[in-house]
Symmetry: C2
Subunit: 362 residues, 2 copies
């Protein structure tokens, strides 16, 4: 039986995850899903319970699971901890140890929510773009790194951006494969006008494209221009592939364009093994929202849609994923909204209530 | 007599610069400005004329000038040149050799243009934020850098992000000083949750603030969150201070929020010398727009407003700067627009025509 490790984490993580578990129970009945669920601590919750943001035992369980579903990490309680003890360390460690090099971040505008965007509705209605962010390389993990004293009361800090041909090609391949199932267009983004890592990025993506994916349209765009174009005309994009740091910023910018962060899932995938199975972790794009935690008002839909991505990408349960996504659309169409999405003319519901309605729709 | 070096550059650079020169002549009469203007080549134009994007002699003249006014560089003609021969090299070299460590990029929405933004007008009307970007350090200039063969057909590219205490403090000081003359609020942006350079950045900004600027409000924000917040609620910001690479992306994103790139100036400043004079270069935020070059339809206002910034920051001619900015506002209020800004109900004018109207208003 497939094993799923659930890491609810901090803030609103536990309450949204509880809702997703209940919906998963419903799906087990309706769609015959059979999963073994385990739970573990991560982030601040793990610091409090186990003295570190990711216990060795939890990491082992993640390595042994068929997929990981994560809630959110972080909060003011742990903000003043030193760099290498913060809750976020757990995320970085999980990504690296599980080899999750491809981070898929869709930015989708659900039709009934188009008005929630800061952008004019005509610019975002129907938006459906996918950012593929490299997740285990670049400046996030490059050595040397650190802060040193250089005398005279001065310090000097260093980080290193490193990419190899292989790291670039494997994430670009994920982007091209995805594009083939979507709009068949990839925009590759870097700063090749300033950084050698960008030059290599562009050359390798271009070569891979010529070798294996020349049926897909490919465009190169500098990262600063991409940050502009996302605001100017987001619907020009289908798939964007970029490095770890640019991907961090561009995917958050793209997410905010939708106006409904509470709706956005993500998937982080590793390389396929001999059986074609990839290690994978799924999580909502939003954070732990400590200000509303414990009040039962958090929006569980991004975590639920992350679970749907898991069903689709890790377990080939497209039918069950469709059922979840369809139920979400219908519940929104009926005007039900958690407080983060409430607008005039809609009905405010709690975390539990929207969960119940989703189960009913499934 | 103060010396100004004019570098028109490529694409629309020469034609917008010609217009600004004519307006400067008018100001000489109305406001008694007395400047000595020199011209030089930069970017693609310099590659064609002198074999390199920035001739040594031009660099010397820039070093000897009291201020530099640059048009724009780049174009398809030079796009396939190798990394270190591209037109953009000239910009990077000028910044570094002149020591222009503080790049001031205002994102201002002119009231009659609020509808041009992708964002809902109520989110941008009255927007006036200033991004202070570090311009001579970080990953743009850090060593080691390069691409090496690592065998097996694989290559490895490296760039280095470096910051010292001093580099961080001097640009932060510029941001705090500017904030005092504006809304008195600074947001400092980095990725201290992932990068040691961000940790040092945050610590030095915090220390400088406590020592010398605790009358200014200071907030720290991760760069990915800043990319989001700019879309969500841009008017929350007064001054944003950030590093070279984050500043590149965030300032372009912020510029695009205004919807009228053709209106945005920038200033790049060095350290004050014994007489309190700073080396300085002024340039529009927009690029060389090769697609419309030579047609007489380019918008000269961003370059003109860059010249106004020069009058204010380099020559203490606030009165003449006010006159320029006032004339720009009145011309827009009268509904005159170059093609990039034309909307129903406005009147389309050429580069020359809008220049003439500005001169009349002055
Ligand atoms: C929390 C942080 C370390 C993380 C990152 O920078 O990758 C986050 O911003 C994200 O995008 O998942
Ligand atoms: C042209 C390029 C080198 C430059 C940069 O990245 O700094 C540009 O994008 C800018 O922001 O002035």
């Amino acid at each position: 039986m497939a094993k799923i490790l659930i890491l609810p984490g901090d803030g609103i993580g536990p309450e949204v995850m509880a809702e997703v578990r209940r919906i998963a129970d419903t799906l087990a009945e309706t769609h015959g899903l059979a999963f073994e669920f385990e739970e573990g601590n991560v982030g601040g919750a793990a610091i409090d319970a186990e003295g570190a943001p990711l216990a060795e035992e939890t990491l082992q369980r993640a390595l042994n699971a068929d997929a990981v579903l994560l809630g959110a990490v972080g909060g003011p309680k742990w903000d003043s901890l030193p760099f290498d003890q913060k809750p976020e360390r757990a995320l970085l460690r999980l990504r690296k140890e599980l080899g999750l090099f491809a981070n898929l971040r869709p930015a989708i505008v659900f039709d009934p929510l188009a008005d929630a965007s800061s952008l004019k509705p005509e610019l975002v209605r129907g938006l459906d773009l996918m950012i593929v962010r490299e997740l285990t390389g670049g400046v996030y993990f490059g050595e040397p790194r650190g802060i040193e004293d250089i005398g005279g009361g001065q310090r000097r800090a260093v980080n290193t951006q490193v990419y190899t041909s292989e790291e670039i090609r494997r994430v670009a391949a994920v982007a091209f494969e995805l594009a083939r199932k979507r709009g068949n267009r990839v925009v590759s983004t870097e700063k090749a006008n300033v950084m050698e890592t960008g030059v290599l990025w562009r050359e390798e993506v271009t070569a891979l494209h010529a070798e294996s994916y020349n049926d897909v349209s490919l465009e190169h765009m500098y990262a600063d221009n991409c940050a502009m174009q996302l605001v100017r005309q987001p619907k020009q994009f289908d798939v964007i592939v970029t490095d770890n740091l640019f991907g961090d910023m561009l995917s958050d910018e793209a997410a905010m364009l939708t106006g409904s962060l509470g709706m956005l899932p993500s998937a982080s995938l590793g390389a396929p093994d001999a059986q074609g199975r990839r290690k994978a972790m799924y999580e909502p794009v939003h954070g732990s929202a400590p200000d509303i935690a414990g009040q039962g008002v958090a929006n569980p839909l991004a975590t639920l849609l992350s679970f749907a991505m898991m069903l689709r990408y890790s377990f080939d349960h497209g039918d069950a994923a469709d059922a979840v996504e369809g139920a979400v659309t219908r519940v929104l169409d009926r005007g039900l909204r958690t407080p983060d999405l409430v607008q005039p003319g809609t009905t405010k519901v709690s975390t539990r209530e929207i969960g119940d309605e989703i189960r009913r729709e499934i």
